[in-house]
């Protein structure tokens, strides 16, 4: 009983910190680390083989691959109120993120979204399924939380409802009503490929997220943003970086530089040394997220990024397959052949 109340108390303090209250990332991070190490036997065994931790940057990261092979939780999986699954990734088995409560997730999602998309009074048109239709999609859940009751979702049974969406866009244009359009990059490509052009009213904006994962043609970012301008009349596009394995999302602040909220930290790790890459040098993104209290504070992603001196970062994308310089085949090319 004591254990439960301690962790609940920790959750309350993180919640207060996320909501702008007092707190200190370093001390909370070390407490969360101690908690996770105690309550996740798999993680503990891994940490036992890592150097001791004095400061948050040394907290051992759980690789995203581990979410496919283990239940990364600090509570019995049977008690989970929600589980989000990775989808469309390059490997067959999905990673799973279990939640004892969605309180922290929801608290971390809303202010961050509002600060970057300023959705006040804008109708939201969302190019994903509803959270009810996609209970295992972290994106659908997050959008359900931030969108409120009036939002409309335009993916049904896995298909973008193009006609309905185009009709709504027409109405908005006629009514001079600015909108907030939200969706995955591949959903937007489907919309753009339909070759209908809109001139949405000034003040309209869009949030795009995620890679393409083979679900539409691949479009470079510059081209995608050009299509937002040409096909929708939207200049203001914000990229969101979120992952099933995390509880916090990261949004473009200035340009394509991602802001990091106070309850998270991001390090860019040089894969050749295992140490943080120099500012401006590419490396693998490692996220520290206090809202991941019940799973893993520190997650090692497979995305390349570049760190800024002030702790913000830029995404370069998923690591592309490495080229084979000789006459062998690497895992990727052999499995493809």
């Amino acid at each position: 009983m004591l254990r439960v109340s301690l962790s609940t108390e920790l959750q309350q303090r993180i919640l207060a910190f996320i909501n702008g209250g007092a707190g200190d990332f370093e001390s909370l991070a070390l407490e969360v680390f101690a908690f996770q190490r105690e309550h996740n036997a798999v993680y503990r065994a891994y940490c036992d083989r890592q150097p001791p931790v004095k400061h948050w940057p040394a907290i051992p990261a759980v690789p995203t691959s581990a979410f496919k092979e283990f239940a990364i939780t600090c509570f019995p999986v049977a008690e989970a109120v929600a589980e989000f699954h990775t989808s469309g990734t390059t490997r067959a088995n999905a990673g799973k993120h279990y939640f004892k409560t969605l309180e922290l997730y929801d608290a971390a999602s809303v202010p961050n979204f509002r600060a970057h998309l300023r959705p006040e009074n804008l109708p939201m048109l969302i190019l994903t399924p509803t959270p009810t239709e996609a209970p295992h999609s972290s994106l659908a859940h997050m959008l359900g939380v931030v969108a409120g009751d009036d939002a409309e979702f335009f993916v049904e049974n896995g298909t973008l409802q193009l006609e309905r969406l185009q009709r709504r866009l027409c109405e908005m244009q006629w009514q001079s009503q600015p909108v907030l359009l939200i969706g995955t990059a591949f959903a937007f490509v489907h919309l753009f490929d339909a070759n209908m052009t809109f001139e949405l009213p000034a003040g309209s904006r869009a949030m795009e997220t995620g890679g393409f994962k083979g679900r539409s043609r691949e479009v470079p970012k510059v081209e995608l943003y050009r299509l937002f301008r040409e096909r929708l009349g939207i200049d203001h596009v914000v990229n969101e970086y979120g992952m099933t394995e995390l509880s916090t999302q990261f949004y473009d602040g200035a340009g394509s530089i991602k802001d990091v909220p106070p309850w998270a930290r991001v390090l860019v790790i040089n894969p050749a040394t295992g140490q943080p890459a120099a500012v401006g040098q590419p490396g693998l993104i490692r996220v520290f997220d206090l809202a991941n209290l019940w799973s893993s504070l520190c997650v090692q992603t497979e995305d390349l990024g570049v760190a800024q001196a002030d702790g913000r970062f830029e995404i370069l994308g998923r690591v592309a397959g490495a080229e084979v310089r000789g006459c062998s085949l690497n895992a990727e090319s052999l499995l493809k052949s």
Partner: protein
């Protein structure tokens, strides 16, 4: 130098003219002598060819200087007078058939090589390319060579070293570099070829095959994978250090980029020592080799692939007894992954190798079956009677070469690369009688 269509056409005209002027009067033995002599000039410790390769090759190949030394030893050490002569005798019956009619049974036969061979090289492992052009010279052909972007150095330097020994023979060889995207140049290089020797991945070979004019012979050498197998009888305390050293060499040389580089070493269970012991010893031997011959610089994608694989297995290995990881103290130099799962796991390369226990050779066959058309070499120790039965099964599956562990990267010059002869496929015969 930016290569143009005119350069390619001039190189073809020049080498073909030289071939027709010079080579009919040249004995095959004289050609062998020149090649062997040029090769021997690379092997001396103070060789200026070696010095130039050390200065120029690490950039494009991304091999360390020490690895360039290893590559020189393996590539040019194999080009001896005896080995070259044996290759000819073995494939053509008698090397003199290229010089004159020779009695073969009841007929007199003479062999002619193609007039012009175009070689399209690939990859950063130098020996296949160098051997390719030697094949052309031995057959008294004119040779046009397009180097690989990953190794524009070795073929050029070899041609120069040959010129130092035998300028006339070197006139029959032109080595050029042009970008792969310049299809018109490649087409010009192939247009008048009588034979094409092409190296590269499936896509490249397919494209080159389509560009090769009908009537020209096309031999394509694709990318391949290799693996090792250690029988339980070899797993003794006494054998272990040498066994580990042999395997570490096969894995580490060319930073595992070669088609002869093993991805997995299977170790048979129930020997005096278990497979885990081998993994541990292999890790030590990989470290010793790394000290002597450091791995080259990786791109960020390569380093990321290694570190992701390593982290995934280290995380698993913390609680999963079937998995263990041995890794270089500095990240990513070498990684040995022990995994009690017999499936064939292709490596991300750059000195990352799996050690897997197996209860029998039969199980190994089942595990690799899926990749049977992609397997080049299987290193087996010891090569005893039981191994010969295994070799017969591997042969049935389509494997091209079985050898001792430690010899995987030292195929004899006369080995059947991708299962085919090196010279016999390329000659045209005339019989009298």
């Amino acid at each position: 130098m930016i290569v143009t269509l005119a350069h390619i056409q001039e190189a073809i005209a020049r080498t073909v003219e030289a071939r027709e002027r010079i080579l009919p009067l040249r004995s095959t033995d004289a050609i062998i002598t020149a090649i062997a002599q040029a090769a021997s000039h690379w092997l001396a410790p103070n060789s200026h060819w070696r010095a130039r390769a050390i200065a120029e090759a690490p950039g494009p190949t991304r091999f360390s200087e020490a690895m360039i030394h290893e590559a020189i030893q393996l590539t040019f050490g194999s080009l001896t007078f005896e080995a070259l002569g044996e290759l000819l005798d073995r494939e053509l019956g008698n090397r003199r058939v290229l010089d004159e009619f020779c009695l073969r049974g009841r007929v007199q036969s003479r062999a002619h090589g193609p007039r012009l061979i175009t070689h399209i090289l690939a990859g950063n492992v130098p020996s296949p390319g160098i051997i390719s052009l030697c094949r052309g010279l031995l057959l008294k052909s004119a040779n046009l060579v397009r180097t690989s972007t990953h190794d524009p150095i070795f073929p050029v330097l070899f041609a120069e070293s040959l010129r130092e020994v035998d300028p006339e023979l070197a006139d029959c060889l032109a080595v050029l570099s042009w970008p792969r995207e310049e299809t018109a140049l490649t087409q010009a290089a192939l247009a008048t070829a009588n034979a094409v020797l092409a190296y590269g991945d499936d896509t490249t070979i397919g494209q080159l095959r389509r560009l090769t004019p009908e009537g020209a012979q096309f031999l394509g050498y694709g990318s391949k994978v290799s693996f090792g197998v250690i029988a339980k009888e070899a797993m003794t305390e006494e054998n272990l250090p040498a066994l580990a050293e042999a395997a570490a060499f096969d894995v580490s040389i060319y930073d595992q980029q070669g088609c002869l580089s093993p991805h997995v070493i299977y170790v048979e269970e129930r020997g005096p020592l278990g497979p885990r012991k081998f993994a541990e010893a292999l890790a030590q031997a990989m470290d010793v080799y790394q000290q002597r011959v450091p791995r080259g610089q990786l791109t960020i994608e390569e380093a990321a692939a290694v570190s992701q694989l390593r982290q995934a297995y280290e995380f698993r290995g913390a609680t999963d007894r079937r998995v263990a990881v041995w890794a270089s103290p500095t990240p990513n130099e070498w990684t040995v992954i022990y995994e009690d799962d017999p499936s064939f796991s292709p490596s991300c390369l750059n000195r990352t190798v799996y050690v897997k226990p197996t209860d029998s050779f039969k199980r190994v066959l089942d595990s690799v079956q899926r990749y049977s058309d992609r397997i080049s070499t299987v290193g087996v120790t010891p090569l005893n009677e039981r191994a010969m039965t295994f070799a017969a099964d591997l042969a049935k599956m389509g494997v091209h070469r079985v050898c001792q562990l430690g010899q995987m990267q030292r195929p004899p010059l006369s080995w059947h690369h991708d299962g085919r002869p090196n010279l016999a496929d390329l000659v045209r015969w005339t019989d009298v009688g």
